[in-house]
Subunit: 368 residues, 2 copies
């Protein structure tokens, strides 16, 4: 599989939903496979909160491949022998696209808290700019889970007919208070961490010892990505054998899992980016800018394939069913699949085998 990682530089302004502009800006992106002559084989993949443009393949020396490697590759559901798959690092993130720790032109100082609040609409607008620059004016499909699914849906509403098929997984039409509450843990934990210095930390400050606030917030995140049942199966009430049951800080296996994953995360993910992306998730509401959710959804001209997971306790299946029912009433092209899974929200990343068939089917009649 041919993988390319590139950065596109834009000197034109990005007009944000807030009314503010980002100028200049950069978008980092990765592509898999090759574009065909009439550019009709392009699939856009959108990443979630902690993801990046590195969706598939393995970098030299890396233990793990890209985050959706099970789905993207030769002969896989997103078949890179036939399709040109592109994934961009969202604006505001910290893996090469312009974000709060980027230089605020013309100074060489980072934006920090002066970076504009960005929204899902802004993310897809930036993606659209990139596609334009690449001469891509139509997409075969857009796919993404969680915040990636928000982008896919927003794309369908804001740019009707831009893609043939839209495949949002494990997402919603508007972020509920429940999710905002989970995100609140991270916001408060980061803000109140003295080493965060109200955003005035320096690049590299957390490379050795990650920011505690981000690690703590991430524990709350991990709770919401799993589910009670998946935790029972994965950890049960097992105790880390070297810790004593009657030691105050002795740990259950679920605690060790949380520590390990979150400490590591807090070393490589930028806390300001985390705050900005969480804000974008919190403010996501497909209806904003339109008269109602109904009016927003009515604009959709692409075929929508909604995939939810039964055990998802972050974005519940009912939320996607709500979109489905609305589109059905309008006779819009839409399908809805609720996957049997007790894996929780993470299922869209870890149980690819349960839904890859649905995705292959969408492309099976293509003569590409």
């Amino acid at each position: 599989m041919k993988i390319k990682t590139e950065t596109m530089h834009f000197t034109t302004p990005l007009y944000c939903e807030s009314g503010r502009i980002i100028e200049p800006y950069e978008i980092r992106y990765e592509t898999y496979g090759e574009i065909n002559e009439d550019k009709s084989n392009v699939i856009l993949v959108c990443h979630a909160l902690s993801g990046s443009h590195h969706a598939a393949g393995r970098y030299e020396g890396d233990r793990k491949p890209g985050w959706w490697d099970d789905l993207i590759g030769p002969g896989k559901a997103l078949d890179t022998d036939r399709y040109f798959v592109i994934c961009t690092n969202v604006i505001g993130s910290c893996f090469g696209s312009t974000g709060p720790m980027s230089e605020m032109y013309p100074s060489e100082e980072p934006y920090r808290l002066k970076f504009p609040v960005i929204t899902i609409k802004d993310m897809i607008k930036a993606q659209r700019q990139l596609l334009s620059r690449l001469g891509i004016h139509h997409l075969r499909a857009i796919i993404g889970g969680s915040m990636g699914g928000m982008q896919a849906l927003q794309f369908a509403v804001d740019y009707p007919g831009f893609a043939d098929d839209i495949i949002p997984l494990a997402t919603t039409y508007a972020t509920r208070a429940w999710v905002i509450a989970f995100n609140k843990v991270a916001i408060e934990a980061i803000r109140r961490d003295p080493r965060f210095k109200n955003g005035n930390y320096n690049r590299g400050d957390f490379d050795e010892d990650g920011l505690d606030g981000l690690a703590i917030g991430r524990i709350a995140g991990h709770i919401s990505y799993l589910s009670p049942d998946s935790m029972d199966r994965k950890f049960g009430r097992n105790y880390v054998s070297t810790d004593g049951l009657f030691e105050l800080f002795g740990r259950y296996e679920v605690e060790r899992y949380m520590e390990y994953n979150t400490n590591n995360f807090s070393k490589y993910f930028d806390p300001l980016s985390y705050l900005y992306i969480v804000k974008a998730i919190n403010t996501f509401n497909l209806a904003r800018g339109y008269d109602s959710l109904y009016e927003a959804v009515k604009r959709i001209e692409d075929r929508i394939h909604l995939i939810s997971f039964k055990g998802d306790i972050l974005f519940f299946p009912q939320e996607m069913e709500h979109i489905y029912k609305m589109m059905q009433r309008n006779n819009q092209a839409c399908s809805y699949h609720c996957i049997e899974s007790d894996y929780g929200h993470d299922a869209f990343l870890v149980e690819v085998n349960k839904f890859e068939g649905i995705i292959s089917d969408i492309f099976k009649e293509d003569t590409i």
Copy 2:
């Protein structure tokens, strides 16, 4: 209603499950109503993580009454005209009973991290000592929700026949990984807060500015006490009107709720007590010390009345149903009620009207 608040001092050791002892120790408790001549009208009420012995009535100048005032009082389900209700502050807590910030005799220094790990078994053992001292060797009933329900169940298993009726609400037979994960947020947030000083803070340090770590941990707690539906109803996606949608730290109403409740809490609740009580919840397992859960439950001689709440996402109804089914198979006296509520775990505190009838019925044939 006659309310008395007392502290009982014990010079005999409390032998903890860990093998360690606490000596001397004090138990703070509150009573409502009057004890009858043969002491046959005593009901023990057990409090939850953040609760205290102040279960009912209103102290002079207080805005709010005790935490279960809807349930306890003259003519109420726990009728103080007929019953003598007693509620103790659990050992390890910070409202007058011996806990980690109590003096470690013979020194005048607090125990801090030298306080022994306590368990639900230890809590009820201390309660039993208090009852003995008061000349009470049998209880009409024991009732409690959440951690209070754990105590009620543990009482039934450890001291069979000590009470006539046991009424555990919104609780479980063993704490699941899911709950331990929520508690992990608090543990890490407290431990990593520099002002916690590894437990070497001084009394009063957080009276003005609560400990951030405790406030942050408490946000995770509040998430688990509510439910997605209750948050929708309570907050929806409403924005705090004075904050701008495009301000990074602008807030949704659910965020303001979390801030308000948790900041306040972190000023009056002792962080070491929080760690110790959370540990007691994490280690709760009715089976421990017995050959199996089945063997533990089989010991029960009291009538058990299990009350769960449909929307409880901390201790799911299925967990209490599991006990019910086990007792049914054994022909043990047991009833199970699952209350229709989308209030979440908090329902045991805030929707008393939905289950007070079940509780009144338990006592209606008494000729006291």
